[in-house]
Structures are given as structure tokens and as C-alpha cells.
């Protein structure tokens, strides 16, 4: 079995020795450097621009402004293109924009012989603005009389939707009836999550050149095939004239599931005669001008019966979209859906979701895609209900969990397998829940301890919301090893390793005999929409399995032709064997040599398959956290923390564990310290750098524990379900609920920073 083994990462040695090459390592030098002029207002118009001094600076090749770009708008999110116009992404930006919608919006660009000259040229450009007040919250943006950010959306509401699940026969007509029924416990709460960023190590960087009338962009992206399409759309050129190369990348976490600066880079290149132009974003630009996690505020209600069963819930979510639509309404839509799914409502559920344009830096996709937000609201609510109505928070969750066989009444996603209850049991035992809940009851004094938990469910891919497709190609080498070619991408998560294991498993060869082609070149890589959701082991896994089995059949057919003997054949290790006796008959090296060089029947054995995945499934898990709160200084120290996951069968247990550690780390930053802050007067991002933005360091982490419950999911290619995003989901609520346990103070806004804690402690009479 190659699947299920902790084989070392296929890229481990190259990455730790610095041999692995990333986009910028491949860039030829010298190269023309591009720099972007960012607006110094958050909301308004560029009235005019004087570029004469910049243009005159020696070493400047070209200055281009928002007055020079093509007039049409294009979409940027990394979604599969929809052939139905109604489902296509919102096209709301140009390559450079006269209408300024965020502080630091892209309004001009300089191409120069070197970066310093380009930078100096930017400082010589004179801009005249028409300025409006910055609108930083949905409330401000939806107020009467404010100027719309996009003329297509006059009230600044990108989208609003309401949904209710069908109700069983009863006296209640709608969710509202159940929620206000006096016979049930009635609960309402308000929770808010903040804007955070991915903080991948490698900032977005790309370089572009023209060759043979076609443009090539080498870029740090999660989604090369989508970048190809969007560059084509943005420049108004045929998609086939665009070639995208994606080498190793230093992390993405969803920020690079967006077409960021590749279109501008490509366009600038075409404006300087196709010479190679490099566009390298600074960390500050990455914060200000690329994507982030949406701040979402939640108003929730619940009705609970006397036995602690959820009768109905309501979730009203308002998502702050910033200046551009990016993934738009899809994220808050996913958030209210995720809020609905983890627990079963006996009677009714109502969702209402808003996406509102404002002038903050535009959020987009980020690990968990709306679910970390809704999980905070949902899991704070579960603890608050338990506290208010005297229920045990563990038991209350346990008895309301999504049952096996659950089918979402609105999108049909089905619970094919669940280890949710076992996850809870395992976590409870690991953290010693019962003892700690007792022991930490009713403490006094300045330093107190508490233990909290949170549960989540997470769908694996994006079907049926959008298309799921993947293709894989297996090619025989002369020595009997194979090459695996995919459109799915390695983004640091270990994709290449588990893809290799899956191919090896399907074919019947050792993983080290699978040579994966890590770089995607859209000219040659099979089509796949890329690394996002938690889809690749699930969706691409099906394609690999299909191509692998096809390849295996072709190899065996050729073996039968060579061996001319009766009986079933099989591939084991590096040999074709008699299936019944296991007797070795022909090595794969011998077979390959014959296939490549046979004077009789020469054939290059290859297999290619597309798998369209019209299935989806839920993974589950939970987090248990034990904390210590230093009340007078407002600090939380996490003493012990564990995530328990049901992600189906693990393809590579060690990598799975590492994936969980990374997600927990992201969750801890979300819980305790990370937050993008703006100047209310100007709309400028105040802390867009890694000093002022408090990403936790190694010294801020406790030991991270990861446990698994392995179910065998019938819909997964190898029994597997999602794991990429889920680890980041439940941490914040678990820490917050531990704080509630320790102090009795409910903090309903993230992050749980010292400032916020001290204010809450003072209000709660603790100080």
C-alpha cells in the first residue's frame, strides 16, 4: 500500500537545501522592473495625472496610467469559469483604475531599467484627486446618499440572499414562528470577526515576456489555468495566446487563488515591446493590495427545547467586501451554509447574507472560505446557549450533531461518512475535559484557567455550487518509472507527495518510481482548476486514480502481448507478475525498454483521464483548548490544545499532522492577535507589515497536538475527505469558550487581544 504511508515529501530535500526554484529564482537578469503607483486616498476619482517628470527620469522605459488601460472590466477570483452568464464572476476592475476604491488603489505603473529608478519615478508623478469620505463599514457604505463604489451597484450592496429550509408539517409557518415560540428557550447573540491576512512567506511575484506572438507569465499562483483565462479576459486577447508557468510557490492559503497582478504584468510587458518585465510586490503591497479574510458580523437566534435539542436557528451575516468583488458573495454564502450544516435543526433554519462594498482592502478567498467566521459565531453561540440554559456544552453539541446520511436540504451535499462523535470523544479524553471543567469552576484571583471546545463540519470540494473537474496524465519512462503530469498544484501543502502516492497505488508501483512534474505549464499541463477549497486529494485524486488504472491496463495489455501466456497478470513492486502465484514474469524496466525500442511494436504507453466530480462530502473535527488568563494584563496563554479530525482515510499521516499544525497556528493568530486596522479618517491600512500585524511567532505557540479519526468515505477516491482548510476553523471559538469558562466573561469579537480583554474584564467587574 502506497496510500496511507508517511512517505517523505517528494520535494523535501530540494526545499530544505534551497535547491527548489521559485518564480523569482527563474527570472533572467537584468530585467525591466515594474512598480505601481498607489492612491493616497481611499475613495474618489483620479482627476488628472502629470507624468512628465517621471517619464523624463533617465532609466524610465514607460509610464502608464489609469487613463491608458483598456476600457473593459474583468473578474479576478479563482473560480472555474461559468458557461452560464448569470453565474459568472463579477467583473468590476480595470488594470489600473481612475475610480479609487481603496486606499492604495492601483492608479499608474512605471517600467524602468531597475527597481530604484522605477521607485523614484513613482515619486515624480503628480496626481489630482476628487476625494470622498472613506466608507469602512457596511453601515457607512449603505447609508443614504453615499456615492456608490461601482455604478453597477448603486446602494453598495453587491448581493443579498435569504433562504429557509423546507419545514416539516407543524403549526409553525416559518423559522420566525419557531424562534419566538415561548415554549422553547430563546437565544439571540451578536458576534464579529475581523479582517486577517494569509501571510504566506512568498509575496506575489511574476515576470512576463512575449515570444512568438504569445505572452508567457511565470508566477506564484495556486491556479495557473485560471490565471491563463483571466489574463486573456483582462487583456482582451485569445486565451490560447497566454501561457502561464507555475513553479514552486511559498504558500498561498487562498490569496493566490486569485488572479492578482498577472494581468497587469502581462499588459505592461506588451506595452514595452514584449521585453521581460518583472513585478515583485512588497509585503506592504501584499497587505494593502491583495486579498484577506472577510470581516463578517453575525446576528444569530436559536430556539432550544427542554431536552436541549435545537429546534430552529437563524443566522444573519453581513460581509465587508472592501473595494472590489473578488470572490464576492460566495464567501458569506458559504458562511451561512456552514453555520446551518454542523448541527441539525429539528424544525427550521433561516439564513440571510449580505455582501457590501466598502473602501477597505478587498477580502477574498482564505483557508476555510467563510467557515472560520461562521464557526466562531456558531460555536460561541453553542457555549452561550449552554451557559444561559444550564446545559452541558459538550453534551449539547454531541446530541445535536449532523447525523450520518444527512442531506443538506438546499444544496444536496450528503454526509457519506462521519466520525464527528468519535472526534469529540477523543478530544474530550485527550484534554481531560470532565476533570478540568470541574476543577476550573468558580475560580477567583488574577490568574485563572479554563477549558473550551468547538466543533466544525466542512464540505470537501465545491460541487454542486460550481464545476469540479480534474485531469491527469501518466507517461511511461524508458526505465519503467512513470511521470505524473497534473494541472493540480503543489503550494506547500504536500500535494505532489500525496498525488505521487495515489498514482503509485493505482498503478501498483512504489511511490519513488513516480516522478511528478511539479511545475504547471498551461501549454502542456492537463486541465485542472487548481489548489483551492480542500479539493485536490478528493477531486484530483479521482483523476489520478482513473488515469493510473487506465495506465495499468495499458501496461498489462502490452505485457500480455509480450508474454503470450494465459492467466491473470498483476503489477507488484517493479514487476509484472502472475496474479495467482505472484511469480515475477517481467520487470517494468524490461517492458518499458521493449515498448520504447521494439522493432516489432513500438508504443509510448501513456494514459490520460478527466474526472468530473459530481459528488461532495463532509469532513468533521473539533478543537479543545486549555488556557490561562492573566486578568490584570489582559493576556491569554494557551496551555494545551488539540485538534481532532475526521478527514476520511489519511493518504500520508505525517503530512496530515503537519497540515493540522499549520491550520491550528493560523487559528491561534485569528483567535488572539491578528487584525488589519484602518485609520478611520483616511481609510489607510495602519498595520500592513509584519511588525505591526501580529502574526504569532514560534515563541507564541504552545505544543500543537493533532489526532485523527479515520473513516472510510465511499465518495473519496481512496476513502479520503478534506483536510487542507479544516484545521484553521475551530481554534478561535475553542479559545474564546475557554476564556468564558475561566472568567465568565463572554468576548464576542475577535481577536481576543489585550486591549479588548481588559475592556471586557473592566466591564465584567473583574478589574
Amino acid at each position: 500500500m502506497e496510500v496511507g504511508k508517511s512517505v517523505p515529501r517528494v520535494d523535501a530535500f530540494d526545499k530544505v537545501t534551497g535547491r527548489a526554484r521559485y518564480a523569482d529564482d527563474l527570472c533572467p537578469r537584468p530585467v525591466l522592473e515594474a512598480k505601481i503607483l498607489h492612491s493616497t486616498i481611499a475613495n474618489g476619482w483620479v482627476k488628472s495625472m502629470d507624468i512628465s517628470r517621471a517619464q523624463a527620469l533617465p532609466g524610465v522605459v514607460k509610464v502608464l496610467t489609469c487613463f491608458d488601460v483598456p476600457a473593459h472590466q474583468y473578474p479576478t477570483p479563482g473560480h472555474p469559469w461559468s458557461v452560464e452568464e448569470a453565474h459568472q464572476d463579477v467583473s468590476d476592475r480595470k488594470l489600473l483604475n481612475r475610480r479609487v476604491r481603496i486606499y492604495g488603489d492601483d492608479i499608474a505603473a512605471v517600467v524602468a531599467q531597475d527597481a530604484l529608478t522605477a521607485q523614484r519615478a513613482l515619486e515624480l508623478i503628480q496626481v489630482e484627486y476628487e476625494t470622498y469620505p472613506p466608507l469602512l463599514t457596511p453601515e457607512q457604505a449603505m447609508a443614504d446618499g453615499v456615492k456608490p463604489l461601482h455604478e453597477e451597484f448603486p446602494g453598495n450592496v453587491l448581493k443579498r440572499h435569504v433562504s429557509e429550509i423546507p419545514m416539516p408539517e407543524s403549526d409553525f409557518k416559518c423559522a420566525g414562528d419557531v424562534l419566538s415560540f415561548p415554549g422553547y428557550h430563546q437565544f439571540h447573540g451578536h458576534y464579529e470577526t475581523q479582517q486577517v491576512q494569509h501571510c504566506h512567506l512568498e509575496n506575489p511575484v511574476s515576470w512576463a515576456y512575449v515570444e512568438g506572438g504569445r505572452i508567457t507569465v511565470v508566477t506564484s499562483t495556486q491556479i495557473p489555468h485560471i490565471v491563463r483565462r483571466v489574463v486573456g479576459q483582462a487583456l482582451g486577447i485569445p486565451w490560447g495566446s497566454v501561457r502561464i508557468l507555475k513553479p514552486y510557490i511559498g504558500g498561498g492559503f487562498g490569496n493566490k487563488q486569485e488572479v492578482l497582478y498577472e494581468p497587469l504584468n502581462a499588459w505592461l510587458c506588451t506595452q514595452v515591446g514584449g521585453r521581460t518585465v518583472r513585478l515583485d510586490l512588497s509585503r506592504e503591497e501584499t497587505f494593502q493590495n491583495t486579498r484577506s479574510r472577510h470581516p463578517i458580523s453575525f446576528d444569530v437566534r436559536a430556539a432550544v427545547d427542554g431536552d436541549g435539542f435545537l429546534m430552529a436557528r437563524e443566522c444573519i451575516a453581513v460581509s465587508n467586501q472592501g473595494g472590489y468583488a473578488s470572490h464576492g458573495h460566495a464567501i458569506v454564502s458559504n458562511a451561512v451554509t456552514g453555520f446551518r450544516q454542523t448541527y441539525l435543526d429539528q424544525l427550521a433554519h433561516r439564513s440571510e447574507a449580505w455582501t457590501v462594498y466598502t473602501n477597505i482592502a478587498s477580502p477574498g478567498a482564505m483557508r476555510g472560505y467563510g467557515i472560520p467566521q461562521c464557526n466562531f459565531a456558531c460555536e460561541c453561540m453553542m457555549d452561550d446557549i449552554a451557559l444561559q440554559f444550564g446545559l452541558d456544552p459538550y453534551q449539547f453539541r454531541y446530541q445535536n450533531l449532523m447525523p450520518p446520511g444527512y442531506v443538506d436540504p438546499l444544496n444536496g451535499i450528503t454526509c457519506h461518512s462521519t466520525g464527528a462523535r468519535e472526534c469529540l470523544e477523543k478530544g474530550r479524553e485527550f484534554i481531560d475535559w470532565d476533570r478540568l471543567r470541574r476543577e476550573y469552576q468558580g475560580q477567583s484571583g488574577p490568574v485563572r484557567r479554563g477549558v473550551g471546545m468547538a466543533v466544525f463540519s466542512y464540505k470537501t470540494g465545491v460541487w454542486p455550487i460550481s464545476l469540479e473537474t480534474s485531469s491527469a496524465r501518466v507517461v511511461l519512462n524508458q526505465d519503467g518509472t512513470v511521470q505524473l503530469q497534473l494541472g493540480a498544484t503543489e503550494i506547500g501543502q504536500g500535494g505532489d507527495t500525496v498525488f505521487s502516492q495515489m498514482a503509485a497505488q493505482a498503478i501498483g508501483i512504489p511511490t519513488e518510481d513516480v516522478h511528478i512534474v511539479s511545475t504547471q505549464d498551461t501549454d502542456t499541463a492537463p486541465f485542472d482548476t487548481g489548489a483551492y477549497a480542500s479539493r485536490q486529494t478528493y477531486v484530483t485524486g479521482h483523476a489520478i486514480k482513473k488515469a493510473g488504472l487506465l495506465f495499468r491496463e495499458k501496461v498489462l495489455a502490452y505485457a500480455r502481448e509480450l508474454l503470450k501466456r494465459p492467466g491473470e497478470l498483476d503489477i507488484r513492486g517493479r514487476e509484472v507478475v502472475d496474479a495467482a502465484s505472484g511469480e515475477g514474469l517481467l520487470t517494468l524496466a524490461e517492458l518499458a525498454s521493449e515498448a520504447f525500442y521494439s522493432l516489432d511494436h513500438c508504443v509510448h504507453i501513456t494514459a490520460e483521464a478527466t474526472s468530473q466530480c459530481k459528488e461532495n462530502t463532509f469532513s468533521f473535527g473539533c478543537c479543545f483548548a486549555e488556557i490561562e488568563v492573566d486578568i490584570p494584563v489582559g493576556k491569554i496563554k494557551v496551555l494545551n490544545i488539540v485538534n481532532v479530525h475526521d478527514s476520511g482515510r489519511l493518504i500520508n499521516p505525517k503530512l496530515a499532522e503537519a497540515q493540522v499544525h499549520g491550520g491550528m497556528s493560523m487559528g491561534l493568530g485569528y483567535a488572539l492577535s491578528e487584525e488589519m486596522k484602518y485609520d478611520p479618517k483616511t481609510g489607510r491600512l495602519l498595520n500592513g507589515n509584519l511588525l505591526d500585524y501580529k502574526l504569532p511567532t514560534a515563541l507564541d505557540h504552545p505544543e500543537l497536538h493533532a489526532l485523527f479519526v479515520e473513516t472510510d468515505d465511499p465518495s473519496g477516491p481512496f476513502g479520503n475527505k478534506s483536510l487542507g482548510e479544516p484545521p484553521a476553523i475551530p481554534v478561535a471559538a475553542a479559545v474564546r469558550n475557554a476564556l468564558l469558562h475561566a472568567t465568565g466573561v463572554a468576548v464576542n469579537t475577535l481577536p481576543l487581544s489585550p486591549q479588548r480583554l481588559l475592556e471586557a474584564f473592566r466591564k465584567g467587574g473583574l478589574l
Binding site: L116, P632, V633, G634, K694, P696, T697, L699, S753, L758
Partner: protein, 293 residues
Amino acid sequence: MYDIASIYEAKSVDDAIRALKEDPGALIIAGGTDVLIKVREGKLSGCRLVSIHGLIEELSGVVLTPGGDIEIGPLTTFRQVAEDPVIRARIPVLGQAVDQAGGPQLRAVGTIGGNVCNGITSADSASTLMALDARLRVKGPRGEREVPISQWYKGVGRVDLAPYELLVKLVIPRENYEGYTGHYIKYAMRNAMDIATLGVSCLVKLDEQRRIVDDVCLAFGVAGPVPMRSYGAEAAVRGLPVEQAVSAIGKAALEDVNPRDSWRASKALRLQLVEELSARALAEAARKGGAAV
């Protein structure tokens, strides 16, 4: 991308002073952990630099003088200060303080002299050097002079360095550390790679029974525009039994400080920290001195 017009690598302290005289607009660069950040941010675009980075022999190292004073060369890195045997044996609180600056890479190049000359209230060495009443020896075209650190800070980012002057020595007089134990608390939003929201350094000298506070020196970073001593609080608790001193020092310190409201932290948060951490720093310093608190 660093917009630097020129850099001159000085061959000696005198050569550096000469170079500064020749080019009055030039800036001194030592470890570079402050200057290069400003250059990258565009605040010093096109700057001309005089580097003293290579003057290790003249300006680096810790020496215990025959009289018992401790002399620290300004080019001594944070790491060297933290690991120095003289510092560890006689003023461990200073080593403890500088060991909390930035991360390991920064501490390997950032210098204690730069930390002091940068004139920033959050400097990790500053509050402890204030508590120790360090003396700063500077050299200029007209020779050397010594400035007590209490008169060093002139405002945000401004220190008592005349044109063409260089800091050449930090001196901790024997009477300022002997018999004292100290504790530094850096309060920041992270445990590494961060700037203090508040820094508190407390030195204490106890009576022979380890019960009474004979003397105390309390100093803060980020409690005002420049590093500061809390003389009022010191006077308020001097002569008190340790436990009483610990419970009184925080409130008394509030009278001395003047932190500001900023988006990084509110004034209320900083005041709360001044009160709480003064007590904790004194208690811990006294504990190190043998008090049972």
C-alpha cells in the same frame, strides 16, 4: 531595494568624526537594524552613510574597570551583551532586557549603542540603562564628554549628540549596580519579533534582613515620549517593607507617567500595565534579592 547614495566605511572613531565633518548631512550606521528599515521605508531616500560597523576593536566589548565600573562599547551587539560574563555576573537584568529585542537575527547585529542613539522610547535596553543611571561618553572634534542618561533623551528620536559626535562608551558606575537586583518586563503583543507596548525595569536594594526596600530605581519605556524614571514612585516606596512597597508602587507610578493613546494601544491599556507591571517587576527584583514575596 535600498536608496542609498553613498557609504563611507570609517577606519577609526576619529576618521568617522572627520568624515561627518566633511559631510554634515551624512548619517552614522552601525548594526543597521534601525537605519536600513528607515531607508527601506523611504524615510531616508538617497541618504549618505558613514559606517562604523567595522570599528569592532575600538567600540565593542564589555570591560570591568579596576574601580568596578562596567564599560560597554556601543558596538557590542545585543547578543554579546546578553552572553557577556561580566554582565551576567553583575547586571544580569541588562542582559535579560537586551535578550528580548527582536529575534535572534536582530540580536546578532543590532547594537546597544544604536539602541540608545536611536532615541526611541520603546528601546529594550533603555529602561534598564535608565534605572542603572548609565553615563554615556561621547566623542567629537573637541574631545570627549560624559552625559548622564537622565539628560540624554531630548524628544522622540532626538538625543544629546552634537553634530559630528559619536557615542564611544556606555558606563555603568559601580555604585549604581552593586547591591541591587533587578528585573525587566517587556510587555508586547508577541513573545518575539515585537516592540514593547510597555517596558518596565526595576532595580532594588534591600536591607540585610531582606525585608525593607532600602532603595529602588524604576524606569519605563513607552510610558512617555522618551524612556523615563519614575522618581515619584521610587520615593513613595523607599524605606517600606517589601510587600507594602509592591502594593504601593503601581499607583504611585501612575503619577509619573504620561503614555499616549495610539492605534497600537490605548492610554488606558498602558496605564493599566504601568500599575500592574511596576508591582510585578519590583516583586520579582526583590525575590531575586532574597525577599520572600
